[in-house]
Symmetry: C2
Subunit: 184 residues, 2 copies
DNA sequence: GGAACATTGTACCTAACGGTACAATGAGGT
DNA sequence: ACCTCATTGTACCGTTAGGTACAATGTTCC
């Protein structure tokens, strides 16, 4: 039928929302069908590998967004401080100031971890590594930069968890503010 | 039959492990039965409310452990510094130096959150509040104490997530070490 | 118009889900 | 010995899970 060209990007965005909201196991095909308005026929047409391929595509999509919006600014050779600031802004934008949860982080905790271990590891690994590199460029020692980078990503992930637990976005805002102070 | 009096504590410990490993949705009754060696008959005898009651019991059990081993030391009026140190040691013990993940944190992220929202909120709320009170007793201003307490619990949760993602317990150890330095 | 192809709804499959019913078992107290 | 009752295994329930098959529908391009 192909009534409207089904925009793959917004399809992946909806899928991501469902996985974020219900976890990997909790995101049933009927939930996904309901959220996307697509029947199983279409779903399996776009993702022959089923749920696992959907989740993998969503992870790749998020990974791509972070690569361009979060990790790339950190690789700015000339102005590492500005790069760090842009990283923090992109992070705030992505997590909608704490209204959103980190899918990759959530997957890291439940049993989706085994399926996507490599991607999860790589995502967090690049975040920490690129931030650490930027921090060495601002004058920190490599060891201190590593420490600070890991601490920052931990703080962000932890704030997302606590913010969700408290149902309070201020937790995330405060964490970002602290990160800004510690890094800047 | 009642062959061996089934120790409720160790039963809850096994249940907790299954929930930790697979999440709420992922922990199927057959997995639980396999892990505990109990059939559905026994399981529903001990927990007539089914899976939801099992998870609730596990949460209550963990909550109790934290209450006595983590939160109580923080309420030591005379020596708040020692209380904080005991809190950190108990935390390290509970999470087995990072080999274990926080069930309550994991539940906060997936769709078990809706079922157990109150308990989750209360657990993290007491942790932050008691730590903040201890910090005011060591001389920090109430505002600074709140900030530091929230930062610390965020750091712990984040480190558990990252540690799991990297499959590396050192992340958690480093986070605890940093917390010790920041608080002590 | 018709061929080729992308897209979809429907029907269906088997396995597993959470949960229930209940009879059988055996230990503890008397 | 006997009654009571906690505990258990087994069989079963309806529902939903993820997944497959396929015919029908358009759309695009020649």
């Amino acid at each position: 039928m192909r009534r409207i060209a089904p925009d793959r990007d917004s399809l992946l965005a909806i899928l991501a929302e469902v996985f974020r909201e219900h976890g990997y196991e909790g995101a049933s095909l009927s939930l996904i069908g309901e959220a996307t308005g697509l029947g199983k026929g279409s779903l399996y047409h776009f993702f022959p590998g089923g749920k696992e391929e959907m989740a993998a595509a969503v992870i790749a999509h998020i990974d791509g967004w972070f690569e361009t919006n979060v990790f790339a600014p950190l690789q700015d050779i000339d102005d590492p401080r500005a790069g760090i600031e842009r990283m923090l802004e992109a992070t705030d934008r992505y997590f909608r100031s704490g209204r959103r949860v980190c899918l990759i982080g959530a997957f890291a905790l439940d049993d989706a971890r085994d399926l996507f271990a490599k991607a999860i590891k790589s995502y967090f690994g690049r975040w920490v590594a690129h931030l650490a590199e930027a921090l060495t460029r601002t004058g920190h020692s490599p060891a201190r930069a590593d420490e600070l980078a890991e601490e920052t990503v931990c703080a962000i992930q932890g704030a997302l968890t606590l913010g969700r637990a408290f149902d309070d976005t201020a937790v995330f805002s405060r964490a970002l503010q602290r990160a800004r102070a510690a890094l800047g």
